[in-house]
Subunit: 235 residues, 2 copies
């Protein structure tokens, strides 16, 4: 049994109840076998902070009732996944209009429209195109096979996990974290390699927010950058 703000790692595979089709998994081999491997994705156990609401509702709710190393199969209906299908999101547009936008629709392809939304092409005939603006998984019941493989217990591990989620893993070990429970302070030194990273400041700000919200609410989180001559001489 877990509670709000617990840091857990899960492994999962999701299939559609209708067809049994595998649509997502944390297991790289399985993804490759099912032809859904995505180079841009990181495979392996995935960090979940309970209460952060980054997962679909049905999965996050279920996780509170797991124990460490427990594996369960859970069925998640559309209202706790990607919502019911909404027929008012099916639009008929003219083929000519799409072509003027530089789009040549073919059935079952996914389009990005001029306003930035995505749509699935349901049919093309007689100069008319039927577009479905529902989420591709709307109306689907999902079957999750989930296992909780790790639970983080101490604050330092949790902060490291937050850093790892935000920065490329090669830098994680270069952060230095000092927690002082008497003074209620966390001091985090930022690695010199990151001083010129795009968006470093936004990442610092967001990391501070996460530490205070999910790990050490009443602490002062201090971020430190140290410059010496060497930083600028390329040494």
């Amino acid at each position: 049994m877990f509670k709000n703000n617990d840091f857990i790692y899960i492994e999962y595979s999701v299939t559609l109840k209708d067809t049994g089709e595998l649509i997502d998994t944390t297991n790289e081999e399985e993804a490759k076998k099912a032809n859904i491997y995505d180079e841009g994705k990181t495979y392996g156990p995935k960090l979940v902070i309970l209460g952060e609401n980054r997962l679909i509702k049905g999965l996050e709710e279920a996780l509170y009732n797991f124990n460490l190393n427990e594996e369960k199969v859970i069925e998640i209906p559309p209202e706790k996944a990607y919502g019911e299908r909404d027929n008012s999101k099916i639009k008929i547009v003219s083929l000519g209009e799409l072509k003027r936008q530089g789009i040549t629709p073919t059935p079952n392809s996914i389009l990005r429209l001029a306003d930035g939304t995505t749509a699935v092409v349901r049919s093309v005939s007689g100069g008319r195109v039927v577009l479905d603006l529902n989420h591709p998984l709307a109306g689907k019941t999902l079957i999750y096979k989930v296992k909780v493989v790790k639970v983080l217990e101490n604050a330092k591990d949790k902060i490291n996990a937050l850093i790892e989620r935000r920065f490329t893993s090669q830098y994680v070990s270069k952060f230095n974290i000092e927690i002082d429970d008497n003074k209620k302070t966390v001091k985090i030194s930022i690695p010199k390699d990151l001083y010129l990273l795009d968006n470093l400041q936004l990442n610092i700000y967001a990391l501070a927010y996460e530490i205070i919200n999910y790990v050490l609410a009443d602490y002062t989180v201090e971020f430190v950058q140290q410059y010496t001559k060497d930083v600028f001489s390329g040494k």
Copy 2:
């Protein structure tokens, strides 16, 4: 007499030797009177770090030989100001070509060309336009009336001056600077109001560079940001 890395404040007015025309001044009233007032400019004494080479060569060289509160009039020839005029930078282009770029040139106007360079239009006639790509002050001898009005003596004042040059003045007093000469460290706390400033990180990096180069070469410069719950609750 000043030396490299001295922080001095100067007041100046510059006129063209040829015509006596005032072209720049640190005095707001004088600028307004001469119709060269620029809203985007900050008037008043201007920080100069000797050796930083932000000024034209002739002025910077001369400043080493000033004393505090001394005022001098110095004449700076083109080769120590904006360079000699280079006749190869005078180009003849067709009026039609400029019009195709959406430019309608009139004599003495300043154009920004397609490649980003600026040019002065010398003449327009018979479908031919004479463009001068020299700096508008190239070939000019400048007369500077300059006074050194302040010299910074201690490191903390110098660091404050660098902060003031880089951040809006309303924030300067909110920076906290602690110098420890035994440990050879400078610790600078960044005001919370700046945590979401665009380019904060680049400003921190540049400030560290300036402190190490011009103020405390062998020190470690530490920048600190402190986050508590209040930062995120808008209090």
